[in-house]
Amino acid sequence: MLSSHLIDLVLALGMVVLALQVVSERAVLRSIILFVVFGLVMALAWTRLKAPDLALAEAAIGAGVTGALMMMAWRRLLIINPREPADTPRGRSRVAIPVALLAAALVATIGLSALFIDPPTDTAGRIALDEMVDTGLGNPVTGVLLLFRNLDTLLEMAVLLIALLGARAISKPAHPNEAAVVETGTPLVGALLAILVPLSILISTHLLLAGTNEPGGAFQAGAVLAAGGVALVLTARLQPGDRPGVIAQVAVTAGLVAFIGIGVGVMAFGETLLVLPDTWAVYVIETAMMVSIGLTLVLLFAGAPALVGRRT
């Protein structure tokens, strides 16, 4: 009992210290690395809180994909302006300390008032758990994401697409060789890819299928799929292209199209909007979402509207 409290204490303290370092570190690259470490500790904390779905998402998206995206952003900043390293300016803003104190007071107030509230009994989570029996899904998180609150999930997919379109609108397409940072002359890289890429497909498929009954789901699976794609971009097997082909456009929008298609299609059978008919619908939507999420993240990473195979 005591030892488990000790682990929680170390995790909590570690997160506070890491968070402080992330924002106070001057060198941007160190900040990014610390942010990734913070994400991994955060994933451990979610595991301790018995939220494996969140832990998986935090490790795959929060630490992995976001870290990779930020490192690529840092690299592009260096390309734009090689003389001045992309560091935060010295000295802190005058409002920094008042804002920090205000935020601390807010958190303390909410925390203290939460201590004196009787835990509510008739919560939405309780109702959702009771309803899970009828759905045929074993994982309540998937139930909430795809059945009970699926409008939120649908809008999240839309946000992801908007993010991609926004990035495409404001940034110049990356130069074909810009995204590749790993030198490809060594045979080990090919060996790594030969193992890593099939494995990322295997693991994402497993996460997708497991998502109905165990921790996992489209978001985690998409992030793992994106990891394989990021490895291919880093090693220049896939290069930024100018024009997305039909397949890429279909894949990027597949999640949204499948979700809206099934969600609206059920109205023809007299159902309410977005009431999914059965588990097969959940599978179809989750698969389409995984493909869309994976490709969107890789395209954001490559900083380009399309990907093409390496031209030798």
Binding site: V182, E183, T186, L188, V189, A191, I195, L196, L199
Partner: protein, 94 residues
Amino acid sequence: MSMQEWVALALLIAGCFFYLAGTIGLLRFGDVHSRLHALTKADNLGLMLVCAGLAVLAADWRTSALLVLIWLLGLLAATVSAHLIARHARRDGK
């Protein structure tokens, strides 16, 4: 404590020792190559010992196989990244 738990404890402590040694090497050694040497070699052994300890504790073939897989993936990542960093450092003449 049962025999099984003692074995697992010994393996876990040995694993932590190698992790500690690798980290001290990373912090104390002078150049990139010896730092990489300390880090990747010691950490791989540490990871193996920790995985072995957890496998003994789990006493389950499926979990043990997954732990072996995790160790192999760790080996793969460490090998290739150490190789790439060392190549890069040599090219930069450090």
